[in-house]
């Protein structure tokens, strides 16, 4: 064991990482990975700005057309517009139109928190709808859904396809892989160096995006609400989401690096893995566990819909498996990644350069 040239291997891994970094971070053909990673940030920024704008608007309306919540809640169907105005005053918005010989009128009120829409037909109140701005609980659920169904399954998945499959396959296509294979470096060390380079790149890109998503998603919250959240479950959730992001890069990275070495057309394994991971929700409990997404979802702090309590047609299609304890899920992901990398190394030892010329 003492004879192993660990120092030499580590120096060689650093040299490979240095060479790969520029290619991975600044390649023009990798621009789409940044777009994919940052798409949810734009979504949450849009949501937060919209919430801030609506809150401001509601506050202005509530100030201009002050009305108490009690007065609004005392309004009942069957009342006329004048009775409603007597209880709640002038609405901040009023809209009248004729349809099928009936006059339809809509009144809008707000108490600053909730919007109340009253719908009249021929001056008789028929419908009341309350629209409360989404709160933290609802946003948390939306974040969990986007994270698990878009970010993990698509953004990180395809980001890892783009980065890790190119480490070997891309250089075979560019006819530049021989640059590495002419150096006195063990193929296993080369695999380790390239994997580490890909891992650093994807972890930096995707965890940065996760952090930005969390910031953007909570941007509109009151300072007090945000502080309460952070000092409650907030920091734990943030750490869990960042950790799951890094583990997703670790797991998918290993799978796609191996796929780039084992398959001539890497899109076939990528499509197969995507299908398998996407179908995970419909798989029997035992099969669910043979996937990266199952362990990643086990580690997510908020269960995304459909959770355990599915009903109707979903209940026929969806099966549930007990989430794996965090320690086992993390160890499992590391073990699967190590196995896949060993397979990739064995393949790399037999790798030939045959660009098709003689």
């Amino acid at each position: 064991m003492n004879d192993l040239p660990i120092g030499l291997w580590w120096a060689q891994i650093r040299a490979v990482v240095r060479l790969e970094m520029k290619k991975t971070f600044f390649a023009r053909r990798g621009l789409w990975i940044y777009l994919l990673a940052l798409a949810p940030v734009l979504l949450y920024l849009g949501h937060s700005f919209n919430e801030m704008r609506l809150r401001e608007y509601n506050t202005e309306m509530a100030a201009a057309h002050a009305v108490s919540t009690e007065a609004l809640r005392s309004i009942r169907p069957g009342m006329s517009t004048s009775e409603v105005e007597a209880k709640a005053g002038t609405p901040y918005t009023k809209f009248t139109f004729r349809r099928r010989d009936h006059e339809r009128t809509t009144y809008g009120y707000t108490d600053g928190e909730t919007n109340y829409i009253f719908s009249f037909v021929d001056d008789e109140l028929e419908g009341i709808s309350e629209r409360t701005r989404p709160g933290l609980a609802q946003d948390s659920l939306i974040f969990a859904t986007v994270f698990q169904f878009f970010y993990l399954r698509l953004a990180i998945f395809f980001g890892c396809v783009g980065v890790f499959m190119n480490l070997f396959r891309g250089e075979l296509i560019d006819k530049s892989l021989h640059f590495y294979l002419l150096a006195p470096i063990r193929r296993e060390v080369l695999v380790a160096g390239k994997y580490l380079a890909g891992l650093i790149a994807t972890v930096v890109i995707f965890t940065t995006s996760t952090a930005l998503q969390l910031w953007a998603a909570t941007l509109y919250l009151d300072k007090r609400v945000l502080n309460d959240y952070l000092h409650g479950a907030g920091w734990g959730h943030a750490a869990a989401y960042l950790g799951v992001t890094a583990l997703a890069c670790l797991g998918y990275g290993g799978v796609f690096l191996a796929a780039g070495l084992l398959f001539k057309n890497p899109m076939i394994p990528a499509a197969t893995v995507l299908l398998w991971e996407s179908a995970n929700i419909f798989l029997p409990a035992a099969l669910k566990k043979i996937s990266v997404i199952f362990y990643l979802q086990s580690l997510c702090p908020v269960v995304a819909p459909p959770g355990g309590d599915v009903s109707g047609i979903w209940a026929l299609l969806v099966s549930s498996a007990e989430p794996t304890p965090a320690a086992i899920a993390i160890a499992g992901l590391f073990a699967v990644t190590a196995l896949v990398l060993v397979a990739a190394s064995l393949r790399a030892r037999k790798l030939e350069i045959n660009y098709g010329t003689d």
């Binding site: 120092g7 030499l8 291997w9 120096a11 060689q12 040299a15 490979v16 240095r18 060479l19 520029k22 290619k23 390649a27 250089e171 560019d174 006819k175 530049s176 021989h178 640059f179 590495y180 294979l181 002419l182 150096a183 006195p184 470096i185 063990r186 193929r187 037999k350 030939e352 350069i353 045959n354 660009y355 010329t357 003689d358």
Partner: protein, 319 residues
């Protein structure tokens, strides 16, 4: 006292090596023992030159047979590439690198530190006269410059064995002469310099030995004169410059081993074809003593071109 290294540690040995690409033959049953010096691998496009070089460097693996490069098998790249440098025919480079970075970063893969790599990189770049262009991007280099920077990379770590696939392609005459001089210098230092080419007259002048390939088979190997003397079905041709070629012709025709004598077009020489060069040269000494003034004697067909022509025939497209 340490024992001297085994003789195989100074040789490149290939034993019954074959390589097939599916059903397509790369090389077949190649057995070679290559000593230090300049060895040229010659053959037309598709004859198996690159396959043979890729086999030696482990970039492809033999379907059968064994290879040892100075005692190291190509299946141990971590050992092999400390003693071997390979300038491939592939004209592609890692993206975005300058000439210096191309050599320097390659050396960093050896696990050496910055100072050592920087020093070695500049030394090799200087050796191929690329210092001025070294900080420019390789993507902007001419074909000749790319050839030279590849050569710089292959010699940067001071290897004992150099394999150079068509290294003179794309070089202008001046750089070509400089590069050939560098090969001679490297060979004089006791290294193996293995050069492939499909241009026969180019390697004729620089090679200590040649390996002639055709359709994946080695058709001849060794020193070119030795190879020529073994081709008995084609009489040796000798050009003799003398004052009385007609008289000389009548004398040499008395010998049973002389099959043809033709007076040169300028009337100042005689082209002889003989089946026994040894006897012919002894006879010529005798003739010279009997009054014909012989100005020069030179073999007319012991070059790679003729050997290739005799062995493979006119169907191959060599230049």
């Amino acid at each position: 006292m340490t024992a001297p290294p085994p003789i195989e540690h100074s040789l490149i040995l290939l034993e019954n090596v074959s390589r097939f690409y599916g059903e397509v033959l790369g090389v077949n049953r190649v057995t070679l023992s290559i000593p230090p010096g300049i060895t040229s691998i010659v053959g037309p496009n598709g004859s198996g030159k690159t396959t043979l070089m890729n086999l030696m460097s482990g970039l492809v693996r033999p379907t059968r047979g064994t290879i040892k490069i100075a005692g190291v098998t190509p299946q141990e790249p971590e050992k092999l590439f400390r003693i071997l440098g390979y300038s491939t025919q592939f004209d592609s480079f890692p993206k975005g690198l300058t000439g210096f970075q191309f050599v320097y970063l390659f050396l960093r893969l050896f696990g050496w530190d910055h100072e050592k790599c920087e020093k070695m990189a500049w030394k090799s770049i200087e050796r191929v006269n690329m210092v001025e262009a070294a900080n420019r991007k390789v993507a902007g280099y001419s074909k000749g410059m790319r050839q030279r920077i590849k050569l710089a990379q292959s010699i940067a770590h001071d290897p004992r064995v150099l394999i150079l696939d068509e290294p003179l392609n794309g070089l202008d005459p001046l750089v070509r002469a400089e590069t050939i001089a560098l090969f001679r210098e490297l060979a004089a230092e006791g290294r193996h310099v293995i050069v492939s080419s499909h241009i026969l007259h180019e390697v004729d002048k620089i090679s200590d030995q040649v390996i002639l390939l055709s359709n994946g088979y080695v058709v001849a190997e060794g020193k070119i004169q030795g190879v020529r003397s073994e081709i008995s079905e084609h009489p040796m041709q000798v050009l003799i410059r003398c004052d009385r070629p007609g008289e000389l012709a009548s004398k040499v025709f008395e010998q049973d081993h002389v099959v043809e004598a033709r007076i040169h077009a300028d009337g100042g020489g005689l082209l002889i074809k003989t089946r026994d060069a040894g006897r012919f040269y002894r006879m010529l000494n005798h003739i010279a003593l009997n009054g014909i003034s012989i100005e020069s004697i030179s073999p007319a067909d012991d070059n790679v071109n003729s050997v290739y022509e005799y062995l493979i025939g006119g169907e191959e497209s060599t230049r």
